[in-house]
C-alpha cells in the first residue's frame, strides 16, 4: 500500500483550509460572510463535511498550514469569493473580532473584581467623608463653635437637632444666629453626611462578607478589609496568588522600595507595606516588626494560593502563624 499523502489543515477567519506539503490548496470550506456564523464555526470544531472530503489523506492540523494560509490570506479571501474588496473583508474581521472579544471578556471577569471596586470605593468614600465633615464643622461652627464631637456624632447631632437652641445642654454661644433657611440647609447637609457614613458601613459589611466567601483563608489571617486592599493592589486574586511572599510584604510601599533600589547604600528597604495594618504587626514591639511582617506575608502568600486554586478553608494556617508569633515574642 502506498503511503497516504498529507493534508495540512487549519482554521482561518474565513473558513477551513487544507494544503499539501508544498503549499498548494487542496480543499477549502468557506464560512458564510457574516460574523456571527463565522464566530460559531471558528470557535467550534472542523465540520464533518470538510474532514470527509479529505478522507484520502493523512490529516494534520499544524503550523505549516497556518503559515501557508497567512501568506496568501487576502488573495484567497478575494479570489475564492469570500469578500469583494479589502474593505469588505476588514469590516467582516472587525465585527468578528468584537464577537470573539465579548465572548472572552465575560469569562475573564470574576467575583474578585467586584470586591476590588468596592474596596476602592470604600477608600475614596472614607476620604470624602472626612473632607465633608471638616466642612460641616466649619460651617456649623459659625453658629455654635462650642459644639465638640467626633465627625460621626457631630453630623448626627446637627442633622437631628438643627439650630443650637434645640441641642440638649445648650447654654450660650459666641456664634452668630442662624435664620430658618440657614438652619435648614446645614441640617440637610449633615443628614447627607450621615447617609454617606451609613453607606460606608454597608460597603464595609459587603466587603467583609464577600471576602469571607471568596478568600476564606486571607480573611482568617488578616482583616478582610486589608485583604480587599491587597487584592486591589495586586489587581486580581489570580495576580495575588502569583506574587511571592516578599512582594506581598511590601505591597503598597513601592515608593520606598524603589527609593531603596536606586540608592542601596543610604536608604534601607521598607519592612512592610499595606500589611502594616495587620494587628499582628501593630501589636508587636518595634524591633521585631520586620520579622513579623515576613511571617505574616509568607502565610498570606499561601492563603492567597489556596483561595485561588482550591477555595477550601485551611484553619492550620492561622494556628501556625500564631504559634510562630508566640515563639518570636518570647
Amino acid at each position: 500500500m502506498s503511503k497516504k499523502q498529507v493534508a495540512h489543515i487549519c482554521k482561518s477567519t474565513i473558513g477551513f483550509f487544507a494544503f499539501d506539503s508544498k503549499g498548494r490548496l487542496i480543499y477549502y470550506e468557506l464560512f458564510s460572510p457574516n460574523a456571527e456564523n463565522a464566530f460559531k464555526k471558528l470557535t467550534g470544531n472542523f465540520s464533518q463535511s470538510f474532514l470527509k472530503s479529505l478522507s484520502g489523506y493523512e490529516i494534520k492540523q499544524d503550523k505549516i498550514a497556518l503559515k501557508f494560509m497567512r501568506e496568501n490570506f487576502r488573495d484567497y479571501a478575494i479570489s475564492l469569493g469570500f469578500a469583494k474588496t479589502n474593505s469588505d473583508l476588514n469590516r467582516f474581521l472587525s465585527e468578528l473580532g468584537i464577537l470573539l472579544t465579548n465572548a472572552n471578556a465575560s469569562i475573564s471577569i470574576t467575583k474578585d473584581k467586584l470586591i476590588i471596586q468596592a474596596s476602592n470605593t470604600l477608600d475614596e468614600l472614607t476620604k470624602q467623608i472626612n473632607v465633608f465633615s471638616e466642612h460641616l464643622t466649619e460651617w456649623f461652627g459659625l453658629h455654635y463653635p462650642e459644639l465638640k464631637a467626633d465627625n460621626e456624632k457631630y453630623a448626627k447631632i446637627v442633622s437631628e437637632y438643627g439650630a443650637r437652641e434645640n441641642i440638649p445642654k445648650f447654654r450660650k454661644s459666641t456664634g452668630i444666629k442662624f435664620d430658618k433657611c440657614d438652619e435648614e440647609i446645614v441640617k440637610k447637609y449633615a443628614y447627607f453626611i450621615c447617609q454617606a457614613i451609613a453607606m460606608r458601613k454597608q460597603i464595609e459589611d459587603y466587603i467583609k462578607n464577600s471576602m469571607k466567601e471568596i478568600c476564606p483563608n486571607i480573611s482568617s489571617l488578616v482583616d478582610p478589609l486589608l485583604g480587599a486592599r491587597l487584592l486591589s493592589k495586586a489587581g486580581s486574586l489570580q495576580n495575588l496568588a502569583k506574587l511571592s511572599s516578599s512582594t506581598i510584604q511590601i505591597l503598597g510601599a513601592e515608593k520606598a522600595l524603589f527609593r531603596h533600589l536606586r540608592n542601596k547604600k543610604h536608604i534601607k528597604s521598607p519592612k512592610y507595606g499595606l500589611i502594616f495594618m495587620s494587628k499582628y504587626i501593630q501589636n508587636s514591639p518595634k524591633h521585631i516588626r520586620g520579622k513579623i511582617a515576613r511571617l505574616v506575608s509568607s502565610k498570606l502568600m499561601m492563603a492567597a494560593r489556596i483561595d485561588f486554586y482550591s477555595n477550601r478553608f485551611e484553619p492550620k494556617l492561622k494556628e501556625e502563624l500564631e504559634r510562630a508569633m508566640r515563639k518570636m515574642r518570647k
Binding site: 497567512r70 490570506f73 487576502r74 476588514n90 472587525s94 465585527e95 472579544t101 475573564s108
Partner: protein, 217 residues
C-alpha cells in the same frame, strides 16, 4: 501647513491625521477642517508614535492599505490615528490583554471597522493563530520582556522585509538601570535576532524615559 509621509498634516509643532469618521472624536482631541477634509489632532503626549514623528522619524512605513499587528493596543488612542492613515482598505489586528482597556477599544472599533480587536496575551501568539501575515508590527506593551515578545510575534506574523516599531519604556524593563543602558541592551537583542535598526528616537519631552525604535526584518 505641509504634508509629511503623504498622510500626515504638519502645522508647526502639531500633527494631524485625516478623520476616517468625520465629527467623531476618540479621546477628546481637537478637530480642524482643511480644504473640505476633517483632520484630528494627534497628541504626542498621549501617543508614542506621534512623539516619534515630531522628534524626527525619517521613515514611516504605515501607508494607506497597510495591514498591521498592534500589540498592546490599549484604548485605541494611537490606533485610531493609525486607522485614519491606513483607511478602510487597511486593517489593524489589535491585541490587548486587559479587559478594562478592551471595553474602551470596542467603542472605537464599532465606529471605524478597520480594527480587529483580539483579547489575548501577546506572549502567546498561538492564542491568535488566525492573524494573517502583516506589513508592520507595532509593539507597545510595557513589559520587562517586551523585546522578546516583539521578536516572537515578528517571526510568526511579519512578512519578510516588513517593519517593526517598538516603543521601549525603560522604567518597565529595569527601574534601576539608566534609560540609555536599557535602550542599548534592548537594541542589541533586536540586532541579534536579525533586525536592521533604521532609527532610534528618544521621546522626551513628550514622554519620559521612552525610546522609539524602527527596525526592519
Amino acid at each position: 501647513m505641509k504634508k509629511i509621509f503623504d498622510t500626515i498634516l504638519r502645522k508647526g509643532n502639531n500633527i494631524y491625521t485625516q478623520n476616517l469618521t468625520p465629527h467623531i472624536r476618540v479621546y477628546g482631541e481637537k478637530l480642524i477642517d482643511v480644504h473640505g477634509f476633517q483632520y484630528r489632532k494627534w497628541d504626542p503626549t498621549r501617543s508614542k508614535l506621534a512623539a516619534a514623528i515630531l522628534n524626527g522619524l525619517k521613515i514611516f512605513p504605515i501607508k494607506s492599505g497597510s495591514v498591521i499587528l498592534y500589540l498592546g493596543i490599549s484604548a485605541g488612542t494611537t490606533a485610531s490615528h493609525v486607522s485614519d492613515i491606513i483607511g478602510k482598505s487597511g486593517l489593524i489586528y489589535g491585541i490587548e490583554f486587559a479587559e478594562r482597556m478592551m471595553r474602551e477599544l470596542i467603542k472605537v472599533v464599532k465606529e471605524r471597522k478597520n480594527i480587529m480587536p483580539i483579547m489575548a496575551d501577546a506572549r502567546k501568539p498561538e492564542e491568535y493563530p488566525y492573524v494573517e501575515q502583516v506589513d508592520l508590527v507595532y509593539v507597545d506593551v510595557s513589559q520587562p520582556d517586551e523585546t522578546e515578545i516583539a521578536i516572537r510575534n515578528c517571526k510568526e506574523f511579519l512578512k519578510p522585509g516588513g517593519y517593526l516599531m517598538l516603543a521601549i519604556k525603560s522604567q518597565s524593563i529595569d527601574v534601576v538601570k539608566s534609560p540609555k543602558d536599557v535602550y542599548k541592551q534592548e537594541i542589541k537583542k533586536l540586532k541579534k535576532a536579525g533586525f536592521k535598526i533604521e532609527s532610534e528616537i528618544e521621546l522626551s519631552p513628550y514622554q519620559k524615559d521612552h525610546c522609539f525604535v524602527l527596525a526592519k526584518m
